[in-house]
């Protein structure tokens, strides 16, 4: 490996406490600002995509819009419905927010730099199991969702909570599986080392001229990357997978009862930070981390000093932009489609891809017994195909049966509309022109109608 | 190598299978009779070849059965076993003949009854012929099953109760014996269960006492020694007459035989140590059995209690440790088999006619059925040991023999004889003499078949009464041999006291 591959595990755990604190505060601030900026970016971008102006009143380009929103939230009345389970209700936002922050602690921003004379990597910390930490934090976030729904004690909230947790866990599996290939390639779970592994891909020497080999796992492990890209949308409840707040069917989902104020702000915060987190993971695991992309990387100093943080942030913005782009372009999927996609497409594809990649890797081993491996692979492929065919035919049959049944029902309905007990108004019904019933006017309750101040 | 004994065991078993297979009931009965007679003939032929002063065990056979436990299928007979095998071989055909219509009573399978009978015979011969302690145990236990079914399926009103009681008592005793057998084996550590290998293998007296108890209790239950007797009256009273004969006549002898064969020879010291106890029990048994018998109102129960009293004599004879008593006891086993057998059978005929077991229902049978009454009297007199009838000889020998060694017990035991006279004669008087009761006015006398049943019994009783010598010749050496050990021990202890 070339010398400037950046820090490895050995470089961590030597920081003095004050340095850790500095780094932590830095990350904290970065994320807070990121959220403010992110909200603005999103609204601005999406409105542009929809030929609108978007926020443009508060500050230049409406840059202060989100600040204003934040203040407003702080100053709004804090409503705690009386039916809720107080403790859980108050706990939920915290549980959602905190782990969102924590995932960022293993995010590598750059190589070794010296801060106040201490040589230290641009990364809060790194673990042998760094990626597991991220997944763990994601799972803890799910608790927040469930508890929020559960504590609210309202049907919408509970349903929303269950739904979104079901969704998140389902996509978490696909996500976790999509990492496996990366670990196969990198041979480690430590983020910094994974970044290091993506340093130089080496070159193909074809006819004398050397073509740089793609070093990003996004390219060499394309399937994993694509799957991850999808799952990160599902994981963060973003469009097209934002079922939990599917305003259409269940109002605000799990945070229906967190109507206003800072508690709601926590959910917003958590959501956005999660977006940053998954983007960061995408960058670190697939997009070469803080390393400069190809054209820039030709310049020697690109991957040294503080520069890499720039590259990292740029990449972050780009990925975030991708989120917004998707939101602008894709409609929301139906819940059953969502689950079916997660369980029936992503997971099997993932496993198949893992097996395939592992087989290839084994084939590349020096002492590998190729014949054996190939036969093994062949057997699996054939078996898989056989099962899949059988499966397909069965599904086909089932689909046809269902279609036939529906068709037959329609036939029946055309025969006599009353079938199935649905009240069908007679065609000659006199149309109702809204005459106000008499006892509407007398609502003499002295209450301040909400929102009028 | 000869196969006398295995043939004697094998023939009835095969016969049983055949009988069970035959569809026609009459054929089955005839087949059974034929088989049992064949066995009898074979036994007699074998018996005449037996040389009284030859080896201890003759006609020995020995096949390895379960080597890893050192179990052999070892057969062989000495005098004692021989006469007992003879006894059973003689009794079975008689019983077959006697219970010709026995099984029709309940709507149960007749063939099964006779098949069980044959199986039982095989087991009885086997148990006497076994020279391998383990094999003995196996027969000892297996013998219960056919008898259990005979009582339970073909017996009287209380049959299942009686059957279960009988089975559980014997089973329990058997299991205790099993423990003793195992312990014996592992102490002897000869890797074999053959009797001859085990004799004298246990030296430590303490151990001997425990093992002795293990065996003795089993046998005491089997040969109903007071206070282990309570199952006998029920079983004997509920069993069909034929089964009752075999039960009291042969099965119980296994107990006394076992005491004589195993308790005395394997554990001489323990036997010597326990002699007083056993004698007390026997004497109590004699008196108790007799007195209770007097009080009975049920004929079969009465006979059963008389047997308890007689078994008292036998055990006393066994444990009196003198050749006379020993031989007497052995002879007594045979005689008791015949006389009690006769009593049961004839009582059975009577009950079969009248349909009641209660003495009070009878009276003056003598007039309507003289032969029946006469034979009943003979059998009864033999039971109370009238001189000239078989039991007299044996009972006399037992008393003489025990008088030599333990005078006191002998004297007390003599009272049993007197009591015996009371219960037999009184029963006879109540049933046969006096005015003829309405209920028995029109009962028939013995018919041909029944005569054929009774005749041989009476004949044997009288014959043995006058001429027991051949049997004694066979018995004496064997008994002498088997009590010699204990005598030896006894002399030692006497000598020690003498110093």
């Amino acid at each position: 490996m070339n010398p400037n591959t950046g820090p490895t595990l050995q470089d961590f755990g030597h920081d003095p406490l004050w340095l850790s604190i500095i780094k932590a505060v830095f990350i904290f601030v970065l994320l807070m600002l990121g959220v403010l900026f992110g909200v603005w970016t999103e609204r601005k971008l999406i409105s542009r995509m929809q030929h609108r102006y978007g926020p443009n009143r508060a500050g230049k380009f409406g840059l202060l819009q989100s600040v204003a929103d934040g203040l407003k939230m702080g100053l709004k009345e804090d409503i705690t419905p009386r039916t809720v389970d107080k403790i859980v209700y108050l706990l939920a936002p915290v549980i959602i927010a905190v782990p969102a922050f924590l995932s960022f602690s293993v995010m590598p921003f750059g190589p070794m730099v010296s801060i106040f004379g201490v040589k230290t990597p641009l990364q809060l910390t790194d673990l042998p199991v760094a990626v597991l930490l991220v997944l763990a934090m994601a799972s803890i976030g799910v608790y927040g969702i469930v508890l929020a729904g559960w504590g609210s004690r309202s049907p919408y909230a509970i349903l929303g909570g269950l739904r979104s947790s079901a969704q998140v866990v389902s996509y978490e599996i696909a996500m976790g599986l999509s990492f496996v290939a990366v670990f196969l390639a990198a041979g480690t779970l430590s983020t910094s080392e994974i970044v290091a592994k993506q340093a130089g891909g080496g070159t193909w020497d074809v006819f004398g001229l050397s073509i740089p080999q793609p070093s990003w796992y996004a390219i060499s492990l394309l399937p994993s990357f694509l799957i991850y890209a999808i799952t990160m949308l599902g994981e963060t409840n973003r469009v097209p997978f934002d079922l939990p707040e599917g305003e259409g069917e269940l109002v605000g989902g799990f945070h229906t009862e967190y109507s206003s104020s800072l508690k709601f702000a926590m959910f917003m915060l958590g959501e956005y930070i999660n977006v940053f987190t998954v983007s960061g993971i995408a960058i670190t695991l697939f997009l070469g981390g803080w390393r400069a992309p190809w054209p820039i990387s030709i310049w020697e100093g690109a991957n040294t000093g503080w520069w890499p943080m720039l590259w990292f942030l740029i990449k972050l913005v780009v990925v975030f932009g991708f989120f917004v782009w998707v939101r602008a372009s894709l409609p929301r999927v139906r819940y059953d489609q969502l689950m079916a996609f997660g369980w029936k497409v992503l997971i099997p594809l993932n496993l198949a891809w893992i097996l395939l990649y592992a087989t290839l890797k084994a084939l590349r081993m020096p002492e590998a017994n190729r014949a054996f491996i190939l036969t093994l692979g062949a057997i699996i492929v054939v078996g898989g195909l056989a099962i899949w065919l059988r499966f397909d035919t069965l599904l086909q049959r089932r689909r046809e049966a269902k279609a036939a049944q529906i068709e037959e029902e329609f036939e029946q309905l055309r025969e006599e509309p009353e079938a199935g007990g649905f009240p069908v108004p007679p065609l000659d019904l006199p149309h109702y022109h809204g005459v106000v019933p008499a006892r509407q006017a007398s609502t003499a309750v002295k209450e301040v109608t909400s929102g009028s101040n | 190598m000869h196969y006398w004994l295995s043939t004697l065991i094998g023939v009835p078993v095969l016969g049983a299978l055949g009988v069970a297979a035959v569809k026609n009931e009459l054929r089955a009965k005839q087949a059974t009779l034929a088989v049992s007679l064949l066995v009898l003939v074979l036994t007699v032929v074998m018996a005449v070849q037996f040389s009284p002063n030859g080896d201890k065990f003759q006609f020995t056979e020995k096949y390895s059965w379960v080597p890893s436990f050192g179990i052999h299928f070892g057969l062989g007979v000495d005098g004692i076993a021989l006469v007992l095998i003879l006894l059973s071989a003689v009794l079975v055909p008689i019983v077959v003949l006697a219970s010709w219509h026995e099984a029709e009573a309940g709507k149960r399978s007749v063939r099964m009854y006779f098949a069980l009978l044959l199986v039982l015979e095989a087991m009885m011969i086997g148990v006497f012929a076994a020279t391998d302690v383990f094999l003995f145990y196996v027969f000892f236990e297996a013998m219960l099953i056919p008898m259990y079914f005979m009582i339970g399926s073909y017996g009287g009103a209380q049959r299942s109760y009686a059957a279960v009681k009988f089975l559980l008592y014997s089973l329990f005793g058997g299991l205790l014996m099993l423990v003793a057998v195992i312990a014996l084996y592992s102490i002897a550590d000869k890797g074999s269960f053959m009797f001859t290998d085990l004799v004298g293998s246990v030296q430590d007296v303490g151990t001997q006492k425990w093992l002795f108890l293990g065996f003795f209790i089993a046998f005491a239950i089997k040969a109903p020694l007071w206070p282990f007797h309570t199952w006998l009256p029920d079983a004997a009273a509920q069993a069909p007459a034929g089964a009752a004969v075999l039960l009291v006549g042969v099965l119980d002898k296994v107990g006394t035989y076992g005491m004589l064969r195993f308790c005395l020879e394997l554990f001489p010291d323990a036997a010597h140590y326990f002699t007083p106890l056993v004698l007390v029990l026997s004497v109590v048994g004699i008196v108790y059995g007799a007195i209770v018998a007097i009080g009975q109102t049920d004929m079969k129960r009465l006979i059963a209690y008389t047997s308890i009293s007689h078994f008292g004599f036998i055990t006393m004879g066994v444990f009196a440790i003198s050749v006379n008593a020993g031989s007497g006891a052995t002879l007594y086993m045979v005689n008791h088999g015949f006389s009690t057998g006769a009593l049961f059978l004839i009582a059975g005929f009577l009950i079969h006619r009248r349909g009641s077991q209660y003495i009070s229902d009878y009276g003056g049978v003598q007039k309507v059925a003289p032969i029946l009454a006469g034979t009943f009297l003979v059998a009864g007199l033999s039971g109370l040991a009238l001189p000239g009838l078989s039991s007299f000889v044996s009972e006399f020998m037992v008393l003489i023999g025990s008088y030599e060694t333990h005078a006191v017990y002998a004297i007390i035991a003599t009272s049993g004889v007197v009591l015996a006279a009371i219960y037999i004669l009184w029963m006879y008087q109540r049933t046969m003499n006096g005015p003829t009761a309405e209920s028995v006015r029109d009962i028939k006398d013995l018919n041909g078949r029944e005569k054929w049943v009774v005749a041989p019994l009476i004949a044997v009783i009288i014959a043995l009464g006058f001429f027991p010598k051949p049997l004694l010749d066979v018995i004496n050496p064997a008994v002498t041999d088997s009590i010699s050990q204990v005598q030896h021990v006894k002399q030692e202890s006497v000598a020690q006291e003498g110093q």
């Binding site: 041979g187 099962i387 059988r390 499966f391 069965l394 | 059965w65 379960v66 080597p67 890893s68 436990f69 149960r108 399978s109 145990y137 196996v138 236990e141 297996a142 219960l144 099953i145 079914f149 339970g152 399926s153 049959r159 299942s160 059957a163 279960v164 089975l167 559980l168 089973l171 329990f172 299991l175 205790l176 099993l178 423990v179 195992i182 312990a183 084996y185 592992s186």
Partner: protein
């Protein structure tokens, strides 16, 4: 640090029997998934039977081709003499039980349907069946194979669960008396999970004590490690609790009658035979290999447990009116008798004889009990099996053969000579006497006399009492018939010519457990 990992090796050949069974189970699941409903059972039956038979053949072949002297699969599994013998036994018993399972009418049409509900009616009318039974049974059998062969506590724990979990489910699948069946499942599950938690904590403590879960290593460290005896003792005790629960030894026997009564009779047969055998194999391995050096500490306790088990089983059985409950208690009592053999530990050669005695006993008992349950399935009322004892009255007259065979099995349980049960008891008792456990043997004898009482009671009922007017009918499907015949044959042969099997057990036990 990655460099230090060495690729482990696995002797697939040695584990072949187990692998065959598990593989068949997995194929079974595939069949469940993809075969059309009407084909499933006709695929499952041959598949299951063939796999079991194949596994048996493989086991025999291994025993022929020499018993390995060191544990396989990196010391996780020990395929030694006893293990092979037990494998053979379990496979045969499982085969027989599967024959029982094959016969119709034991299993619920649709487990998820609420009893008495419309959907259940529909399922019944459609003739739906849960063919999942076969894969489940195969998984259970696989677990049974691994359980006694496991050479470290982790493998043993996994095996324990693999064995138990399918059984929990199978318990709840009885076609008749659904509520009872479901209750049995719940009880079995809750208690089973409870006990396995104990087993696990015991494992943890022993791991803490010895620094390894490998039985041999634990055994080796007994003397070596000092100062942590509390860990050792508590751990051993908890381990014991877990194992004793599985064999249903008092005071952990409470589940047995309920489960045996509630679950479908073929499954009961499988549990009563296979699980018992497997559990005893494991018990022996743990207590002889790992805790052998601790003998003086656990023997007295084991004495107590054995006595308690025998007495409880024998006495409580007397009061039972449900045939299956009675058999359950009798199996508890038999567990007690087997425990006598476990206690009969001593020098090398003594251990070998005790072990061979146990192995023989297990074979004998296994066959007899399967046969007994097979008979139980044949005697049927309108509402399924005629479970109440009073219904059996006079069976001897209605169906002499069935009654005779059943009586024969009962006599074998009671240990009457010329039946397999007798030599089994005898062998164990003798081993115990050699090891100086005579008092235990006396207790065993007494309690088996007591036990004989209720066996005899059933015989009395069948033969000496008159049949009821509307007595149960006797239906003997082919499979059940074969099972009955086989079990009878085994009981007779083992009772009259036990020598061959004894030799087999002896040779199997000679090498004892590998360490």
């Amino acid at each position: 640090m990655n460099g230090t990992i060495q690729a482990p090796t696995i002797e697939y050949g040695l584990l072949a029997p187990m692998l065959v069974v598990f593989g068949a189970a997995i194929i079974g699941v595939l069949v469940e998934a993809f075969a059309p409903r009407y084909l499933r059972s006709s695929i499952h039956k041959p598949l299951t039977l063939l796999s079991l038979a194949g596994a048996f053949v493989l086991t025999i072949w291994q025993a022929r081709s020499g018993i390995p002297t060191k544990p396989a699969a990196m010391g996780a599994v020990a395929v030694d003499g006893p293990a092979l013998f037990i494998w053979g036994t379990i496979l045969v018993l499982a085969f027989v039980s599967v024959l029982l399972i094959n016969d119709e009418g034991h299993f619920v049409a649709s487990a998820s349907a609420v009893p008495g509900s419309a959907e259940e009616e529909r399922a019944l009318s459609e003739g739906a069946t849960h063919t999942e039974v076969y894969p489940l049974a195969l998984f259970a059998v696989g677990g049974m194979l691994l359980f006694p062969a496991a050479n470290d506590l982790l493998a043993m724990f996994v095996a324990l669960e693999v064995m138990s979990l399918p059984l929990y489910l199978l318990c709840g699948l009885a076609r008749r008396r659904r509520l009872l069946s479901q209750e049995a499942a719940v009880k079995y599950f809750l208690l089973g999970a409870f006990s396995s938690a104990f087993f696990l904590y015991g494992t943890a403590l022993l791991y803490g004590y010895a620094g390894s879960v490998d039985l041999a290593k634990i055994g080796a460290s007994l003397g070596a490690v000092g100062g942590q005896d509390t860990l050792l003792y508590i751990g051993a005790a908890m381990l014991g609790v877990g194992l004793l629960f599985k064999i249903g030894a008092a005071p952990f026997q409470a589940w047995k009658p309920d489960v045996y009564q509630g679950s479908p009779t073929p499954i009961t047969a499988l549990m009563a035979s296979g699980t018992l055998v497997a559990a005893f194999g494991a018990l022996l391995r743990v207590f002889w290999v790992a805790l052998g050096g601790l003998e003086w500490s656990w023997t007295p306790i084991m004495w107590g447990v054995a006595i308690l088990t025998m007495v409880t089983g024998a006495i409580l059985a007397i009061t039972q009116t449900d045939i299956k409950r009675m058999l359950a208690y009798s199996s508890i009592a038999h567990g007690g008798f087997l425990l006598i053999g476990v206690v009969a530990i001593g020098n090398q050669q003594q251990n070998a004889s005790a072990l061979s005695a146990l192995l023989f006993y297990l074979v004998a008992y296994g066959f007899t009990t399967v046969g007994a349950f097979a008979i139980v399935t044949t005697v049927r009322d309108a509402g399924g099996e005629a479970w109440h004892l009073s219904r059996w009255a006079g069976l001897g007259k209605r169906r002499p053969l069935v009654a005779t065979v059943f009586a024969f099995f009962l006599l074998a349980f009671a240990g009457i000579p010329l039946t397999s049960g007798f030599f089994g008891k005898y062998a164990v008792f003798q081993a115990a006497v050699d090891a100086g456990a005579t008092p235990l043997v006396v207790v065993g004898v007494v309690s088996s006399a007591v036990a004989a009482f209720f066996y005899v009671r059933v015989i009395v009922l069948m033969f000496f009492s008159d049949p009821a007017a509307d007595g149960p009918s006797v239906v003997i499907p082919g499979g059940t018939w074969a099972v009955g015949a086989l079990a009878t044959l085994a009981t007779v042969v083992l009772g009259v010519f036990p020598q061959p099997v004894l030799d087999l057990a002896h040779t199997a036990a000679q090498s004892l457990f590998v360490r």
